[in-house]
């Protein structure tokens, strides 16, 4: 705060108004974004940092060593963070709950590489037909004017002639572009069918749609096309420029940097989108769709727009995810609920409706899991070497029971505490806890010593899902705004309270 | 909860403040209802009359103030507990259960088994049409019949206080007459607190009144006095 004030005050002293304005915007840019710039810098230098800490090379001859390993892990985490951001766009900012987000993610991988693998002829004719079909569909289904229709048709044909060569086969970039188009198409279908109805229909529809494609991708019937459960191997179809496997020539490092750039672009794009007039309408729709509609906004259109945008980001993330796959296969798991639940989880834990929340949660959780993968967790039979675990558990359970049954117990507690006030009530609760714990200890004392308890050693990777589940329930019940969200609100409330106090001081000297 | 002698008022609402979300709807409403009477809440649209009834029945609990029924504090209790103490609620817009038959609508209002059987004569005496329509789904009834059903439903259990919200709304004049007669008859055994926008109806039915303006109770007294006071009527109720 102090720094900002000093800087702005200094700028105010500049005489020339044009210069002052320029300095102001520059100052604002730096002051508001210095943190993000720092993060990007750290990310950029991350491989070198890891290399220094672990004594490995940034570009070793063979793809081994800490630095090389963490390059791919961080890249994977960044890609999944982008997926989480796209989910947050729908859920946090637009209030749209999608349970089929994995569809867009997996579509990126599958469509790209199926096309690459199977299209071995020129498809310029097909593309032209597709453009004309889209134009025809628009003509029939919407009330688009003739002039716009013609412009679209001409533009489409021109685009096809320019971009789609008359040569056989498809390049990776073309395939990826078509995957994006496919994603847009899926968004349109889902949107048109369900967005006019209650939100719950959209949610159910996305679940059913994603499940259907998942089953189709996994099914042995289409093994030739999709590779079924084993996944679609694409080995040498990946252009060399994008192949992160070789480390000696710096390919992996370069791909890592490309991923960082992608991540930054997605972040900036979403931020730009939210700050734009469209973005503000989106948030208004989330707050109260009815009101937004009565004001005159075509809420359907805006929701559809956000869906398309989020879908495209998810698809591109999917393509990148596949690029980093170690076994060079597109697995049907990409279409499974895992890649819908994970971004949902990251969004919730990080902070619904915050820009950085999902990123923080995604990076933290994914990297954390990788880091702790080989660690073990020992459940000792004695807590801190003092109290046997079971006794500790009895006390904890007693406390939790009393906490949950507060309301039922209140009249009885009141009666015991009488008119003593707050401390009497506290004392009554304490007494109750002692009684319940004592009972538990007595009962336990009969049973437990007969059990031969020893220190249990658990693998962290086994417990990780359980851990996530518990965190999930805690966040949904107690921290609806997620970690970053609660943090933001804390600071904002503090600032508001400070301002209130300042105002009061001004009012009553 | 100390023992009080039988209060003069069967319902006492004292200075309640009720919020809907963050909107401060009631900013201090006081209503005193003597037993056996018909009291009406008057006021312009949006003044807070419906919210007052909802606060009493517990669907919109007040954040401050007190409500006592037969001397027992009821503010803060859950709605079903308040209803079980003997308060019947007839909401506005004739809210009956459309998919349930007339019979089921009445049966669900039973608090003790056999309530409907005992009150059958009384209820069908007031509203003979309902007997004929007993097996029909509520949604098939006309507006007037639905209103009768809504009121009848509040008579099934042993209620000593009825909260009725805008019974005349959307009814043809002939039906309004019938309905007013029914309310007059049942007020012999039950106290009635009415919300009525239609001043003609209100003035003919009620003995006492409370005027609510912008969430505050501003005036109360005997209806007989109010009908004389043209100035008061115009100030708070607009056109009579």
């Amino acid at each position: 705060m102090m720094i900002e004030r000093t800087v702005y005050r200094t700028i105010d002293r500049i005489g020339d108004p044009a210069l002052r304005r320029a300095a102001e915007s520059l100052a604002r840019l730096v002051l508001e974004n210095w943190f993000y710039a720092l993060v990007v810098l750290v990310l950029w230098q991350f491989p070198a940092i890891v290399a220094d800490l672990s004594g490995s090379e940034v570009t070793p001859r063979r793809p081994t060593g800490e630095s090389a390993f963490w390059q791919s892990e961080m890249a994977r985490a960044l890609v999944l963070a982008c997926l989480a951001m796209s989910y947050n766009l729908l859920f946090g900012y637009n209030g749209i709950i999608s349970f089929g987000h994995a569809l867009f993610f997996g579509a990126g991988g599958y469509i790209t590489f199926i096309l690459l693998a199977r299209v071995d002829q020129s498809y310029q004719q097909e593309a032209l037909i597709a453009v004309l079909a889209v134009v025809l569909a628009l003509a029939i289904l919407t009330r688009i004017t003739a002039r716009r229709l013609v412009t679209l048709a001409l533009g489409g044909v021109l685009l096809v002639l320019l971009l789609v060569p008359n040569t056989p086969g498809m390049t990776f970039y073309q395939a990826a572009a078509l995957a994006v188009l496919g994603s847009i198409g899926l968004s349109l279908i889902s949107g048109v069918v369900t967005l006019r109805l209650r939100g719950i229909y959209f949610t159910m529809f996305t679940l059913a749609l994603a499940e259907m494609f998942f089953v189709l991708a996994k099914s042995g019937t289409f093994r030739n096309v999709t590779g079924a459960e084993d996944g679609l191997g694409f080995g040498d179809l990946l252009p060399a420029a994008l192949n992160p496997t070789p480390t000696a020539d710096g390919s992996r490092l370069q791909m890592y940097r490309v991923t960082i750039v992608f991540f930054v672009i997605v972040f900036l794009a979403i931020r730009r989108y939210l700050n734009s007039p469209v973005g503000r309408v989106i948030v208004a729709i989330r707050e109260n769709e009815e009101r937004a509609r009565t004001i005159g906004y075509n809420t359907f259109f805006y929701k559809l727009l956000t869906m398309i945008f989020a879908g495209v980001i998810a698809t591109l993330s999917g393509v990148l995810f596949v690029i980093w796959a170690t076994d060079k296969r597109v697995h049907p798991e990409m279409l499974s609920l895992k890649f819908t639940v994970d971004p949902l989880l990251h969004t919730l834990i990080g902070g619904v409706g915050t820009l950085t929340g999902p990123v923080v949660a995604a990076l933290g959780l994914i990297l954390g899991e990788t880091y702790l993968r080989n660690e073990t967790f020992t459940l000792e039979t004695e807590v801190l070497g003092l109290v046997p675990l079971w006794q500790f558990a009895v006390g904890l359970i007693a406390a939790l029971l009393i906490l949950f049954l507060r309301r039922t117990l209140r009249p009885a507690i009141r009666r015991v505490a009488g008119d003593g006030g707050r401390w009497s009530v506290l004392g009554a609760y304490l007494a109750l806890w002692i009684v319940v714990s004592a009972a538990g200890l007595v009962i336990g004392g009969q049973v437990v010593p007969d059990l031969d308890l020893q220190d249990e050693v658990f693998d962290v990777s086994d417990l990780w899902d359980l851990f996530l589940g518990i965190v999930f329930v805690i966040v949904v019940m107690l921290l609806p705004h997620g970690i970053v969200g609660t943090w933001n609100r804390f600071w904002i409330t503090r600032r508001i309270r400070r301002m209130e106090r300042a105002l009061q001081r001004e009012k009553a000297p | 909860m100390s023992a009080t002698p039988t209060p003069a008022h069967i319902l006492e609402v004292r200075g309640i403040h009720t919020f809907i979300g963050e909107f401060h709807i009631l900013e201090g409403v006081t209503v005193e209802v003597p037993p056996g009477s018909i009291t009406v809440l008057l006021g312009r649209n949006g003044a807070g009359k419906t919210t007052t009834l909802r606060s009493i029945i517990g669907l919109a609990p007040p954040r401050a103030g007190e409500i006592a029924f037969k001397g027992v504090p009821i503010h803060g209790l859950r709605a079903h507990k308040i209803a079980q103490m003997g308060i019947g609620y007839v909401p506005e817009k004739r809210i009956i259960f459309r998919d349930l038959t007339v019979g089921e609508n009445l049966l669900i209002a039973e608090r003790d088994k056999g309530d409907l059987e005992r009150k059958a004569d009384f209820i069908f005496g007031l509203f003979p049409d309902l007997k004929r329509l007993y097996a029909l789904p509520g949604g098939h009834l006309s507006g007037g019949q639905q209103q009768m059903l809504a009121i009848a439903r509040a008579l099934v259990a042993d209620n000593s206080l009825l909260l009725i919200d805008e019974p005349s709304e959307g009814l043809a004049p002939v039906l309004i007459e019938h309905m007013m007669e029914a309310i007059r008859q049942l007020s012999a055994s039950t106290t009635v607190l009415l919300v009525e926008q239609n001043f003609q109806v209100a003035s003919q039915l009620a003995e006492r009144y409370v005027i609510i303006e912008e969430g505050i109770s501003v005036h109360s007294g005997l209806m007989a006095d109010l009908v004389q006071d043209k100035a008061l009527i115009t100030t708070y109720l607009g056109v009579a």
Binding site: I97, V215, G469, M477 | R78, A79, H80, Q84, F97, L107
Partner: protein, 332 residues
Amino acid sequence: MQTYWTNLTPQHRRSWLLVVVYVALLLAISWLDFGYNTAGQTVFRGILLGMLVFLVASGLSLIFGLLDVLNFAQGAFLLIGAYVGYDIYQSLDASVEVRFLAAIGGGVLLVAAIGAVMEAGLIRPLYERPIFQIVLTFGLAAIFLDFVERIYGRNPKQPLSPPPLLNEKFTLFQQSLSVYRLFIIGLGLAMMIGVYILLNRTRIGIIIRAGVQDPEMVQALGINVRRVFTLVFILGSALAALGGIALVPYQGATLEMGNQFLILAIVVVVIGGMGSYEGTAVASIVVGLTRAVAEQLSLEHFDAPVLAETSILLLMIAVLLVQPSGLFGRGE
């Protein structure tokens, strides 16, 4: 019967007509394409599936109708019921019949207990935040699935033989089938009728139906709606568990079955109309038949039974476009 027809809205009458026409169409296509016997077998399979889906969907519909919560954990309830039932059936040291009954009882009770705790502890506090309620049921479903996988492993459980009483063979449409299949259909039918009687002939049923329309008014009539909420949730979860256990001697238990039936149940509830009991019943049969016929068609013509998945989705899209509130829904 006559009063039922006259009491229907024109929209619902049209829906009945559509259903009858559609089912007739399905039957006709089956007969013409597969021949009498295969068609019969397919229809039988479809009805069987429909009954099983009904068990999951009725819970979904009731819970949604009354609590306004779409319980995405219904599939997980079926899954838990199946695996626990399997466990009890296989490991208990008693005669077959006792094992069977214990499996049913144990599975249903456990899931009902989970449902009760879930509703009271997790869903009720989130009443003000419906979005989080949905997200919670969805997340819990994933957590439950994880638990089941952790405890029972990934390998699918093979079907166990039903008690000999139910394992008699009979011939239908030239196919030798176990009586157990009839048992499943009978079970589903019994539940259909049972829940119908509950809803229409008991006081609690009147309360539930009234609560679906206006829970606030029910509360104002002096009835503790929250207790009814918990009851309905328990009922819904128990029905799903029952479906799961019934499946064990027929198809065994796999980790995917929860999700499979959840999707089918969702489609049923959308097609039938959210909160409409008869809609759920009718739509269950429709969805079951559609799935069975589609599977047979794709098998015969494309040798790709998996294509039947798309049929369900197409059906859902068709209904959403034509009648958004479902065949017997209440209208938006």
